[in-house]
Subunit: 327 residues, 2 copies
């Protein structure tokens, strides 16, 4: 099985490739080759028992997708995207990469000929939804995004479903929850604090909490995100039917519940490193975000995520900190 | 007020222009100029008290939209589209006109500069919805189209909302019901029979009914369709909020109710001209179509349609037949 990962240098892409390299197979099919692509040069996963080729270029340039699919990868994992903040700041760039790039990829597959019909996993986002919401967002709630990024993802979903219906590929769109705990350094994303208030205190560092503790949000661990991709790559796609885009399961919890879980696991000295510093700007942005979902379809199709925030923290300590933290 | 109508040679475009020519104003603003465009040369409405320029070209060619908006029309009514059957038969043509053409128009406006911010009315369709449905489709039901045409319209809606949110224009998307009674000759559209079984018997001709009488569908008259455009052109857009795409009101009725209304109005000799000829192919297509809606938002915003199928037939007799029919 030959896999192509677009956006392979990103956090989820790297972790997916590490998992695949560790397992050596996907759904019982041996991985024989991996093609990695990103706008910066991606790194091949350590210890892979299969050849990996990596390349870096602009995915929305003419010909790039054609070249990437020349050897007919069986599975294409499309994670490449301009993120929310940048797509809002740079209108043209967001549409060029997130919409045109995605369409160029889909059209390259469509026009490849010779009966080529790979499985295509497209990572969408809960940003396709825009407030006001119901208490829980169901699988039939409309997509009325309030960002250009969410608009571009919603358009990608529509294209994915139509190209699948027309038989050009076997598409599965997965709407990722906010990934928490995100490894690495604190960044300026408005959603960064959800991870910062766990990761930084566990590393002995102070973290800023800009919202009140009753803010609720929708989380899944990086480990779950990889699990979603693996399941989408290996499940029976016939079970999905024509509605190809699925809200992934996640955990709805408040910031207060996040902090309580951290205190249960790591103690009050760790949670004391969280500094409350209300930020009206971030509070206003967060108020427009989805809080909770009823992802019945994805659950029925076998997608799994954490059942408690304790599990999310334990996954972070195990996967990122080697089991230890700064008490 | 300078208006631009794209798709001006189509049935709805022509009727909108006739109405505007008759009224001479829109929402109290005098019409001073009309620009008409279509792929075939549109005809200026008779008796217009304002200059009309008409042109014919391919709307998805580079530069066409730029030229059409060069004189900064205040109102743009975008009706141009490849219809459902053709968009399904010719994948490239459907995406080129319905998606690329729409985006080129929107980008031409975005990049026009000088604070240009016209009102843009985009005609979408109930084809953005795909079965299975609830008893009534609400304003929050998701768009999971089962045709390429529906996909292209749903993408147009997303672009319209995002471009409006970003301040590039004042967009209003209106999802038209099936227009009934459609004037003209019977055509091969799968939905044609909804109009044929009224129009042809009233003209003394036989009509074929390919489905059973319990088939329910969602209708509005051509007069109502024009009314939707006029209301969208003149209403206070601030009342709409960020969800710019609205399911228009209509009338849900069964084929049996259509025929009963025709018999009430024109008598049994007219309805005897309907020949039952079940067609499994058409029945299968129609089974996937929306039947009924709860268009609360559009109603609250003042959009109006017929309350009974009798009214729809009477509008046809008045507007198309000069008040007379073949008894």
């Amino acid at each position: 099985m030959h896999i192509l990962v677009l956006g392979a240098a990103g956090m989820v892409g790297r972790k997916f490739l590490e998992r695949v390299a560790r397992d050596g197979h996907l759904g019982g099919r041996e991985i024989t080759r991996a093609t990695l692509h990103d706008v910066v040069m991606p790194t091949a996963p350590a210890g892979a028992g299969f050849p990996c080729e990596a390349s870096a270029s602009d995915f929305a340039e003419a010909g790039v997708s054609e070249a990437l699919i020349r050897d007919r990868p069986d599975l294409i994992v499309h994670l490449a995207a301009i993120v929310s903040g940048e797509a809002e700041a740079d209108f043209d760039k967001g549409y060029r990469i997130n919409l045109d790039g995605t369409r160029l990829l889909f059209d390259a597959i469509r026009l490849a000929g010779g009966g080529y019909r790979p499985r295509v996993i497209f990572t969408s986002s809960i940003a396709v939804f825009g407030a006001p919401f119901h208490e829980k967002i169901t699988d039939e709630f409309h997509t009325t995004p309030l960002t250009s990024y969410g608009t571009q993802k919603a358009i990608g979903e529509l294209l994915l479903a139509d190209y699948t219906r027309r038989g050009f590929f076997e598409g599965i769109g997965i709407r990722l929850p906010t990934i928490c705990v995100r490894p690495g350094k604190p960044n300026k994303a408005a959603s960064g604090f959800f991870s910062n208030i766990i990761r930084e205190p566990l590393a002995g560092q102070e973290a800023v909490l800009p919202v009140s503790e009753d803010v609720m949000h929708w989380h899944a661990s990086p480990r779950s995100a990889v699990g979603f991709l693996v399941h989408a790559a290996t499940m029976d796609p016939a079970a999905i039917g024509p509605r190809r885009n699925l809200t992934m399961p996640g955990l709805a919890c408040t910031v207060g519940e996040q902090i309580a879980a951290l205190e249960r696991i790591a103690g009050p000295k760790v949670t004391a490193r969280i500094r409350r510093e209300p930020d009206a700007g971030i509070q206003a942005i967060v108020a427009g975000w989805p809080r909770n979902f009823d992802p019945s379809r994805a659950l029925a199709l076998g997608f799994k995520s954490e059942a408690s925030f304790d599990e999310i923290i334990k996954a972070h300590i195990a996967d990122e900190l080697g089991g230890a933290y700064a008490a």
